[in-house]
Symmetry: D2
Subunit: 221 residues, 4 copies
């Protein structure tokens, strides 16, 4: 099933009450079009968002630490308790160490959270897949927020990521992101072998968020 992941980042248009409002839009579009849309608000917004919608809510980050003296860290247990169903890990705006990524995946697995590890090229996608998260999401950093879709600007990175992951860890799904805004971007992402996309500014900063999300979904199928 196609996975559409909307990263709320820390935009004004997706913080606090706006996060709840946007998640409701995601839920409605998800229901109207029988698609899985995942809402990814800031950590402080997870509890209220998860209380307001039935679609999966993921965190933007999780630390690979457990119970104990880890002030200021984001634990999988706290995310689960707040209603999260998974987490992004190693987003290009919040890069982690290799050992931290591995520990984050392990702590999510233990807490029953799904994991999406973000990567920046084919080599790091290979490495991330070797850690066996649920998904890897390859996003060339230079295209993030650019409006130029990775599936058009650099289709090779998606094709090669899909091939590499198939060899190393065939159960890991490949998502792609960076610059995905329109239905045709999603369409070509799927055609290149990915199982879904990571969205952000293209939807969040749109004048009409609902319309932007619907056009993306309708245009792809």
């Amino acid at each position: 099933m196609t996975l559409i992941v909307l990263n709320f980042k820390t935009y004004r248009e997706s913080t606090g009450l706006e996060a709840v409002r946007l998640a409701r839009i995601c839920e409605e579009v998800s229901r109207d079009h029988s698609l899985e849309i995942v809402a990814v608000p800031q950590v402080a917004d997870i509890s209220s968002v998860a209380g307001a919608v039935k679609i999966p809510v993921f965190s933007q980050h999780v630390d690979g630490v457990g119970y104990g003296g880890f002030t200021g860290h984001i634990t999988a247990a706290s995310l689960k308790a707040a209603g999260a169903a998974g987490s992004l890990i190693n987003h290009s705006e919040h890069r982690l160490g290799l050992a931290e990524i591995e520990a984050s995946i392990a702590s999510c697995r233990q807490a029953g959270l799904k994991t999406i590890v973000c990567t920046n090229n084919v080599a790091t996608t290979r490495a991330a897949a070797a850690l066996e998260p649920d998904y890897v999401a390859v996003e060339p950093p230079e295209l993030i927020g650019s409006g130029i879709p990775v599936s058009k600007a650099d289709p090779e990175i998606v094709i090669k990521s899909v091939e590499a992951v198939k060899r190393i860890a065939p159960n890991v799904g490949v998502l792609c992101g960076a610059g995905i805004t329109h239905g045709e971007d999603l369409r070509s992402a799927l055609d290149l072998g990915s199982v879904g996309v990571l969205l952000a500014s293209g939807i969040i900063k749109a004048k009409d968020q609902r319309k932007a999300l619907e056009e993306l979904v309708v245009g792809a199928f």
Copy 2:
């Protein structure tokens, strides 16, 4: 007014539903003894804790970034929206860069959040005070979680911190932490010139958290 700040860290005994339960204990002890007790749960727990109690709820960490493309960061705006009244900054378990500390304080000020910058010795206390947060909290790292109170093990660090802050930024309050568990620890912390304390494992890991917190409060006055 004496400030008692209880850092929930990421202990099992202070995560999720346990965070709400512990915050209610803080609220009751605060009311029974006319003291200001601040509850500092994990970020994901702030919303439910702040919805359950009337005492101030602080975050354990805040990043100095604003609205925009800052995936996985903890913004002051999101904390405020979730019901937080302030934040720890630069805790020894989550150290920040100098420029980050300054940016965190600035973003909290703009969002209307109080700030407590944690420091590890007299020199860093001087530096932190120069940034003019609401409070600095000096905590020798080697005493954190030790059960040996800073006010007994190293009274000089508290005395000198208070003196240094008075010279550089007299409006900044000095807290002290590390190993504070009993009433006499709090008493001597106040006698040394601090305006309050940072507590954590001594209360959180106590067999009876309420009793531990009450004994601390009663024993000090």
Copy 3:
């Protein structure tokens, strides 16, 4: 005495043999114009540069750790042994934690190395001065490498930094940097109360490095 600090960064024009060649230019201009010029090559180049010139050689970075199990860290003792006379600390391209800055200064002091702590605005300059390094160097990050001199684009930041440091730690010298290229930039930096400047790309990337450095020096006096 006016202090001119040339940060070699990691440019091709200032690495390896080029670092030695450039340091010799610094030495000659220094001698011809009776000025103190400090060469700041990469760590791996310090030994050969310090062996080739008599002017002070500083490191671009030093970690606040001592002898022991600190693989990959840059210790003050190793810099001293290689011939360094001091170090930049907390450059905007290599930011450090507050506690790390303090520890770096302390380890340099113990090893007999001079310290220049870089800062990004007036508030962090105040904080850095409170740690009492030999110098603070204020550099607005947005002007670094821009060719627009801080002394022209934002004279207020220099004036206020000088005032703040005078109040908090009068023995600490204030340098300024970012965009300094020409003699008039240096001149106005000194007129605003700083005791010297941090240079980099304006000289290193110049077609004729010697000519660029001489013009800066001659044009200022």
Copy 4:
């Protein structure tokens, strides 16, 4: 050929002149026993060590950045110019991000430097191998500096690392480290399928470094 890598860390017994002295011991033992011993001094010591011995000299760390504005970073080009033949990457005392590890390997490859990526368990070994460095060196952090050899305390981690690497990237050699001090430790490391070992405190802090190194070598064969 068996590879013996001696990490000098930042011990007093292996800094500055002591680094040169220790590297000469490594060279002599290497020659007397026809073994490849790699000396890994601090970055500031590489130039003088590489000038004094003919055995390979590696860096303890390298950053994945190139020529440009990267103040305080350790570039592969500067290491090469100073005489290094390779570098450790991601040592447990200097952990890097996944994207940084990949960039460090790429920059070393371009500069003609060999790479050893350190890892902490089987999962991160798999991931590191997917990046295709020359070697991965698995070192359980809890055994580093313990005197308890990984090959005895946790042989499974070595066996499974060797298997995993063989499947993912058969050209990558597996080293193991942590607690290796005596000949029998090296012997069992080789018997478990690794092609060499990472040494540090067991040799560096020995009363007689030469004797310790010789006993290790003689005892293993």
